[in-house]
Amino acid sequence: MELTGLFFYVVSLLILGGIYALLCLALNIQWGMGGLFNAGIAGFYGVGAYTSAILTTAASGRHLGGFSMPVPIGLVGAAIVAGVAGWAVARICVRLKSDYLAMASIGIAEILRLVFVNESWLTNGSLGVSRIPRPFADLTSGRMGDVVFLGFVWLVVLLVFLASSRLYDSPWGRSLRAIRDNEASASAVGKNVEKFRIQTFVIGCAVMGIAGGLSAHYFRFLSPTATDPLLVTFLVWVMLMAGGSGNNKGAIVGALSIWTIWSVTEIFTNRLPPEWATRSSFIRMLLVGLLLQVVLQRFRAGLIPEKSPPVKFRKE
């Protein structure tokens, strides 16, 4: 019993770790490669989650829906809608410098949150969307479903990882890093800075949308509290900074290690006396905030620092 309990604990840890790994990879595309400070991760995550939830649930009358599409289509829809939202945001905000982009993106995430809470016809307001299906739900029953879902999540992580590694090594990724490191010289050699930035932002937002969709399918329930900026935006930033921004492996390692620390400490804090246990999440928040300071001051490069790929010359 102990062992099976532990096994399923690890499974749930890895599922959420995988979802965070996706968010981290997405942020790595935007910040690590493109140098774009997106502080509105929670907004795009929420857009993806709601899109996928609405596309895949059966008709309920409490919110828009009744499409009953298969989950993969829901996730593709999540990526498209989040990407389009990202495009709209990028069109107007991407020229802004880092601090201003941070403010604008937080503002947009907050507006999206207001929409999720207030537009009940679309999202059922704060009561949320329930009975969201899981992929391949008919293959297994009971808790084994979690294991299947784990495989599904990590398959998506693998695909995104391969795609974003390819992007990193590609001429596109090189131009992007050139823009990140020196905008003036990149634009002097004829790179269209704004176009590259918009593309980066859109790709990142689409992946954030997929992550949101996966979390909705995992919990089978979605309410506006899922788009809490602390748990989504902030934690992902800490993960990327700790893992190594600019490095895709670092993004995944950072996501897994910070998420493991975050969840395992919960086990210990839950054993505290009750009056402290209720406050344990605040202790963890405090520690994560301080951990970020340590990372920023001492280990800015992260666990796995960025390493530019060697330049290969074609043989004459």
């Binding site: 905000c93 802004l96 601090d99 941070a102 403010m103 207001l114 207030n118 605040f282 970020l292 800015r300």
Partner: protein, 296 residues
């Protein structure tokens, strides 16, 4: 008419005062230290809870306890600047911005850890409003907030134009290199920036909590409108930030007035979105603000 004044104008001016007081700090920190201080809202929250703590010991009018809150926020701001922001000062400012995100979280979790996350009221019970000219009913709190802000605006103007420190602060905000080569004491300017910003944040936090109730997200929820106000007034222009605060506060509150027809112009549940939309619009079309602030 009296309905407009009673239910829209005075509450709008009160919210405007709160934004104005917070925005001054944000604008000065942005102008002098060159980064968007995302922990400013939570610094306000800290001030609010400083009053709560003091009120537990000294049961007097919370506004008399504001000095305790100011001492707490000034100490917190100087501490955080010394140990968390200063080590990052030579790096691109974005690292300080990320750090201030973390500090915002640290402040909030300290508040939640010590005082819990429930809503708490500073003054229990309902105070009867003042009746002016038999038609206008104004809550005493609103008058206090608006008058305090007006007095602070005058004092701040005097400080910035007539004292040596105030003038150096404006010089650093306008042209840091020139100020540096002219031999101004930058460390002192930075210290005063934090002291004034934190003190005003404490006052803003007090009024915000008295206006509604004290809760750990109080300051964070006010942060974006305050950024909007700081940008509207022009970064590095404290008086502009004051004006910006009032404009944003008015725009937010008055957007739900029934200007056209009977319904509210914008549903009150989207009230906070008004400030964000103004901010995003400003960032795109006029990032230097109304009063020609710095463009960083």
């Amino acid at each position: 008419m009296s309905e407009f004044v009673n239910f829209y104008l005075f509450p709008a001016l009160t919210i405007g005062s709160i934004y104005a007081l917070g925005a001054v700090g944000i604008s000065m920190i942005f102008g002098i230290l060159r980064f968007a201080h995302f922990a400013h809202g939570d610094l306000m929250t800290l001030g609010t809870y400083g009053i709560l703590a003091a009120a537990a010991l000294l049961p007097v009018n919370p506004l008399l306890l504001v000095p305790f809150a100011m001492a707490l926020t000034i100490f917190a701001a100087l501490f955080v600047d010394r140990f968390f922001y200063r080590p990052l000062r030579d790096l691109p400012t974005i690292y300080t911005v990320i750090s201030s995100f973390g500090i915002a979280l640290v402040f909030r979790s300290i508040v939640q850890l010590i005082w819990g996350s429930e809503n708490q009221v500073l003054v229990a019970g309902v105070r009867p409003p003042l009746v002016l000219f038999d038609t206008f009913r104004v809550s005493i709190l609103h008058l206090q907030a608006i008058l305090t802000t007006a007095v602070i605006a005058v004092l701040l103007h005097y400080f910035l134009t007539a004292t040596r420190t105030g003038r150096s602060m404006r010089a650093v905000a306008d042209d840091p290199e020139l100020a540096e080569v002219s031999g101004l004491d930058t460390a002192k300017v930075v210290r005063w920036t934090w002291i004034i910003g934190a003190a005003l944040a404490a006052i803003a936090g007090a009024f915000a909590a008295l206006n509604t109730s004290a809760h750990p997200n109080l300051g964070w929820n006010l942060l974006l409108p305050m950024f909007a106000a700081a940008i509207l007034g022009g970064i590095g222009k404290p008086m502009g930030a004051m004006a910006g605060g009032f404009i944003i506060g008015m725009a937010e509150e008055l957007s739900s007035y029934h200007w056209i027809g009977d319904g509210a112009l914008i549903s009150p549940s989207y009230k906070t979105a008004v400030a964000f939309v103004i901010m995003i619009g400003l960032l795109i079309f006029r990032p230097q603000g109304l009063f020609k602030g710095r463009l960083l």
